[in-house]
Symmetry: C2
Subunit: 177 residues, 2 copies
């Protein structure tokens, strides 16, 4: 597969990717000593495709996580004052179109997809190849659900699981098609 | 701790304990060769406390999973024709009352709590000691959420994680109070 499409995401044990009011305070901060595999993931990523809501959330943060990697934001609204020179808007009639557009522009290599609604659409269209889900040791009770509203049941194949010292567990799956 | 209160439950990767229409067909069937630790869990359990909905679901199944262990069903409705002689109804003004009643009747040993609403109430009251959550390699998209509507954020301490050959991952947590 020349351009695997990957999700790299953290979830609470009860399956939320953000708490009430987009609360992300429960997410451990990666450090240079422990980045939970994010650096390795980015090293094999040639482009990022994210939803507008995700972009607005990361753009409001103090840190920019994506270095020089191009970040395509799925949005019909203009991005005023983009937070990095690598950010550009992308449009498409469907999630599949968006992905094709990014793949055409980015060339060969991993595509990192982020954002609940976008991930769900791509999952439903069978376009996600790999999921890396890091389970944070917390119960949130409410929030933004991981893959919420996926229309189809998807079988997964576990390819690895790794527990970190601070209680995070990273699960890697291939999505079966 | 003389009577630890434990949850032993399976969830889809996206945090559902049952699919749409209470679908449980995605759950692997335990076998004598591979029971995913259930036998060991039951060996340290002196009583089970479950919600009425859970009881009605397990009572409709071909198999009875709980041997001779007393099963207390939290219900205000009579249980006609109980599926096993070990089944009895229990009532209480709160989840804490129900648990005290079961602990008083069962004596010392682990209490296994089952059922979404009951688990949520006990979690909210800080009465769950240990969670054993087995993540099934499937995305369901919809269904009955694990701990849905827990009112309080709960920090957890990972005590072990184990991947099985068929891709299930069992996570054990102590609930921090």
């Amino acid at each position: 597969m020349s351009s695997p499409v990957r999700v790299f995401i953290a979830t609470s044990l009860d399956g939320f990717i953000a708490g009430p009011d987009d609360d992300l305070s429960w997410l451990p901060q990666p450090t240079p000593e422990q980045d939970y595999g994010f650096g390795e993931h980015m090293a094999s990523t040639v482009a990022i495709l994210m939803g507008r809501r995700s972009y607005d959330m990361v753009a409001a943060m103090d840190e920019w996580f994506y270095g020089d990697t191009p970040v395509f934001v799925a949005t019909s609204r203009p991005i005023d004052d983009p937070v990095a020179p690598t950010v550009r808007a992308v449009q498409g009639a469907s999630a599949a179109d968006l992905l094709s557009e990014v793949q055409a522009q980015a060339g060969e290599g991993g595509i990192y997809v982020d954002g609940g609604a976008l991930i769900r659409s791509l999952l439903d269209e069978g376009l996600i190849d790999e999921l890396v889900v890091t389970v944070i040791p917390v119960i949130l009770g409410h929030g933004l659900p991981l893959f919420a509203g996926a229309r189809f049941r998807r079988e997964l194949e576990l390819t690895s699981s790794e527990a970190f010292d601070d209680g995070l567990v990273q699960l890697r799956y291939r999505v079966e098609v």
